[in-house]
Symmetry: C2
Subunit: 337 residues, 2 copies
């Protein structure tokens, strides 16, 4: 049974377990601090495909294949896959998952999609609607630049607040069961829009959404940061992370020693030229799958929060002078033992 607690949080009384996870990334991500943790690193960002978009689809397929292999699970045993990405009409997912023969629930939450898809997958498993489910998301730097900003060959200058779209994909397999890391709660995000209109500063646009969701989760569950081994946002980057921690401090909540952002974990900003940090659906997905879930599975973390953030803009909305609505979805994950 899913039980609503407080205003916006769903508690899973029979928490679905994470049976396997995998992350597949590009060259720059492989050169970052988490490089050794990824399941596959592709030096060729085209991954042997003919376009950046097809390469992104391929990353998504490779991540799901790796998770199925690690979970020793045939694709026919997966009742539903929850997937999304940043490409127009989510073609990273639809073409990436076309050959698997798994019922598909397509989602759109911009860079928050990993938390959204994993939360929905958890509800399907917990309610009995699916015995096994998968959550998969991806992004690709070159495909995103071409679509949102400029083609790579143009060599456009980036502002210091800009974030670098991660080339990568993450896939998580969930099952009803007894063992393994567990998804114990899901707080569905609500749109925040405080009027930021700079599409090169999405961290600032998303910070209020992350603060809103995390504060709501703490209130709903009557817990505080001391109850968690880590509170991971993704992907606020440097600018957004400072704003996020500041917004929480203003409400009397200190995250000192607890907070890290997936967009800051994936690159070494001193060594890699990524400006304010990483972003993209593939950022929090690959950090979750490569760095966070293994530590939960090994019991090094007992309980963490994973709060993925998304900027719900489009190039068209920016050109029409709109501000940037943002959202953050949150999951509580435990070591399950």
């Amino acid at each position: 049974m899913a039980t609503r607690i407080g205003q916006r949080t769903v508690r899973f009384d029979r928490p679905p377990r994470i049976s396997a996870a995998a992350a597949v990334v590009g060259k720059r991500e492989g050169e970052g601090p988490l490089g050794a943790l990824f399941d596959e690193v592709h030096a060729d960002n085209l991954v042997n495909e003919a376009s950046w978009e097809k390469a992104e689809s391929r990353l998504q397929a490779l991540a799901l294949e790796a998770a199925l292999r690690k979970g020793n699970c045939p694709s026919q045993a997966v009742d539903a896959v929850f997937a999304g990405d940043l490409l127009n009409q989510c073609i990273g997912s639809t073409f990436g998952l076309r050959e698997f023969g798994i019922p598909l629930i397509g989602l759109y939450g911009a860079c928050s999609t990993m938390a959204l898809s994993l939360g929905c997958a958890a509800l399907f498993v917990e309610s009995g609607a699916a015995r096994r489910a998968a959550a998969v998301t991806s992004s690709h730097f070159c495909a995103a630049e071409r679509q949102y900003r400029f083609p790579i060959a143009y060599g456009g200058q980036r502002t210091p607040t800009a974030q670098w779209t991660v080339t990568g994909a993450g896939a998580v397999l969930l099952a009803a069961g007894e063992r393994g890391a567990a998804v114990t709660a899901f707080t569905v995000g609500q749109i925040s829009d405080l009027g930021v209109s700079d599409a090169n500063n999405m961290g600032a646009a998303m910070a209020p959404a992350a603060a809103d969701t995390v504060l709501r989760y703490f209130a709903d569950t009557k817990t505080d940061p001391a109850d968690y081994d880590g509170i991971f946002t993704g992907d606020l980057g440097q600018v957004g992370s400072e704003l996020f921690c500041g917004l929480l401090a203003r409400e009397g909540v200190s995250l000192a020693g607890k907070h890290a952002d997936c967009g800051l974990l994936i690159y070494d900003r001193a060594r890699q030229d990524v400006h304010a940090g990483g972003s993209g659906c593939g950022c929090s997905a690959s950090v979750l799958c490569a760095a966070l879930l293994p530590r939960l599975q090994r019991g090094e973390y007992r309980r963490i929060l994973f709060c993925a953030t998304g900027a719900l803009l489009s190039p068209t909305s920016v050109q029409q002078g709109e501000t940037i609505p943002s959202i953050a979805h949150l999951l509580c994950l435990t070591s399950g033992d």
Copy 2:
């Protein structure tokens, strides 16, 4: 409890009830055979907004407002809204729903989104994750033409197999409860791709997906067309409907007298120049909300199938020579009494 039956169908043992629904459409839809049934018809396709995209967002907001009003339900009482549309990054939904303060689950299923969002909303309500939920989708002819094909002012010729994107939005409110039409089963779609690559013949691309989902549902539930008062697809149009019925006939399933397509119901093709019929997320959504659900609520239908179909292409995938992956999600709806 949700119970899986057969391979791909979820049965809702405590079916969520539809407490209200509303449809808001544009001028051409208002002039069609269902014109008198819509809650609002806007003669101005800009709906007093400055762009087609903002107009689409406005339609989505108006449809949800109308459904909340008809259901006598404040927006704060809705625990989650499930929404999607065809615009890049789903800005029809994110900007349309920005002011409501309702937790948002964004979905992408192209023109299948109404069945996808209503099915997911039903699971959230049935499992206890939400007390009340809403499902909302939209499309806009001019915004879709500019994004997928040519700007309206270009005056591009359309092929006879092309469909006309509906300007409209539909919203459904769901609640746990005793009375009203019910969502009793949900079959999650699986991608079909038989190699159709003509983006002006999406009916042909989607027909196999619809046939696959409907046949799977009949097998899973051990029912046949005689058990239903109507089997509604959306939006296959004229070309896709003929192929769909042919594919089912080949499997020994006759839909004679039972099948209708939302894309054919919404316009009078003899009088309105829409080529193969209507399409767009707003097509099956507005037909469901204005024509099908009221007949269920009045008991004129006892049990129907609503199978919305989506073509999961993008202009980029077409330009890169890809075929068109398609999907169809199905709901069983009953009068509930």
